[in-house]
Amino acid sequence: MATESVSCADSGALVPSCGLIPEGSVGPVEPELIAFDEPLHLSSGQVLHGYELAVETYGVLNEARSNAVLVCHALNASHHVAGYYAHEPKNLGWWDNMVGPGKAVDTDRFFVIGVNNIGSCFGSTGPSSINPATGKPWGADFPVLTVEDWVCAQARLADYFGIRKFAAVMGGSLGGMQALSWAISCPERVENCVVIASSPRLSAQNIAFNEVARSAILSDPQFHGGNYYEHGVVPKAGLAVARMVGHITYLSDTAMAEKFGRTQREPAAGGEYHYNYGVEFEVESYLRYQGEKFSRYFDANTYLIITRALDYFDPARQHQGDLAKALEKVLAKFLLVSFSTDWRFSPERSREIVQALLKNQRQVTYAEIDAPHGHDAFLLEDARYHAIVQGYYDQIALSLGLPARQRTTGVLA
């Protein structure tokens, strides 16, 4: 495998194109595309003969290749974990508050890889890519994927970088499922597994929300059975509704009440209602804006693929529902974090993982952060949450003989 020639350090190298790099930022970054031509046998039985992964890296891989951290992304995220693009300085990575020099996941010491999953619309091979068999976009023919398929693809990425064992594999939500799946399917390659606001399986209620979202997309007249690329249209309306549903579930009742309450958008004279179906309340305006914005940059087929992968994930399934049995071969040490008001991936679900790991006598740390923001809290800047993650990574560094923290930046600075 290519190792010495890998340009891993290049993309993370801090060469400011203009001006100063903000303290704690990895600075301007550039994604790279890595092609794999070894066939990928998928859970569905289909085979993907070749694929590309979009990747960003931050920090420097040490000589022993022992300081690598893989960050797995959630539903609508990508490989762009930290830093910004030189031509788009406002396009910050989705976990920029967590990953950077001196931050909780400290790129002064760790080599962090952000990878975009197959099936995505952000650079890795996905339904809008050209199907080599037909010369047309894959569209509806793109295979259905599972979390396990993604982990297999990511394992090849690890090989590509010459990384035998990750210091940590980490993710939130769907990313947490991938991290858990890593610890199960490649136990000897994961030193630590960091699972945040995640679950060992979706509940019926969760699957129901995903089904509503998919129905919105599938019933959009512009969907054309998934082959809308050829028609030069996108099922924007369906995608927007899908996002609105999702968005509601990521926030807590309290967070929504605090943010919007029953505030009217533009009340009629005397504070009256308009008595129609336009935007009457602030919360409606917000949801429509979020939905519309999402439908402009996200791909409908990708949304279908990813929500389905969420539904399918259930490592205990092969063990008659016994999660402890599913985690029997796990070797990694675990950090799990949940948030009290997260009803989509509730603390109960994290506790199930904790219990199953304890049953197998694995080393587990579990923090339950009392935060009002619902599922979204895992992307926000709660100091207790960041202190836990930072403390845990400092211990990882200590146990692997990596250098001590030089500075503290970000939420805890």
Binding site: R351, K359, Q363, V364, T365, R384, A387, I388, Q395, L412
Partner: protein, 210 residues
């Protein structure tokens, strides 16, 4: 939001040192209400103990993580359902029993998850307490520095009271120690000590061993 963490701790509390002596090297320990993880870090570093803490307080959890002590954030009143039967060799509950609502329940649970249990609690039988009550006042001392209206201690007991309860729950007491401030009390500990420490054996293990 600011998080203030006290880094490091120079000396282990007297009762914790004694607790540490009662723990087998290389064994598995669960520390309920582990605070900043000092005991487990000490046991790890000096007795090769594999430990897990349970703690509710955010800053204590953070402090434990910073010491590299595995910790589960959980309210003890909700029980020990996360832990399987006899999963540990020893389970410790130091200076917490007296502030719990379900005293019997937690003791039974301790007997379920480990072969040995160790508890420490302020001894209400300490003679100046009786003196304070005779003068018409609730006692306020080093181990119980609270006024009656703001105390977290809701289930205070004497050493004899605890021994009776342990007996009724089938917990076989194997060791006992008593302290007054930092000094160990050997003569008349029921009256002269402010802090009592007991080690007991689980009834389940006793029956399982038979």
């Amino acid at each position: 939001m600011s998080v203030v963490i006290s880094q490091g701790q120079s000396v282990l509390r007297q009762d914790l040192l004694r607790i540490a002596q009662w723990i087998e090297p290389g064994s598995r320990v669960l520390d309920l209400g582990c605070n900043d993880g000092a005991l487990l870090a000490y046991l790890r570093d000096t007795r090769q103990v594999v430990g897990t803490g349970v703690e509710l307080d955010d800053e204590s959890v953070i402090a434990s993580v910073r010491r590299g002590v595995p910790v589960i954030q959980q309210n003890l009143e909700e029980g020990l359902a996360l832990f399987s039967d006899l999963q540990f060799d020893t389970v410790v509950l130091s200076k917490t029993l007296q502030s719990m609502h379900h005293t019997e329940h937690i003791l039974r649970e301790m007997g379920r998850v480990a072969r040995y249990g160790i508890v420490s609690f302020p001894n209400f039988g300490y003679w100046p307490h009786g003196w304070a009550i005779l003068r018409g006042r609730m006692p306020v001392t080093g181990e119980m520095p609270y006024q009656w209206y703001d105390t977290p201690n809701i289930h205070l007991c004497t050493m004899k009271d605890f021994q009776d309860l342990a007996g009724s729950l089938g917990l076989r007491i194997t060791h006992r120690a008593a302290f007054n401030d930092r000094a160990e009390v050997r003569v008349l500990p029921g009256w002269r000590s402010t802090l009592a420490v007991y080690r007991f054996e689980s009834p389940h293990f006793q029956s399982a061993a038979r």
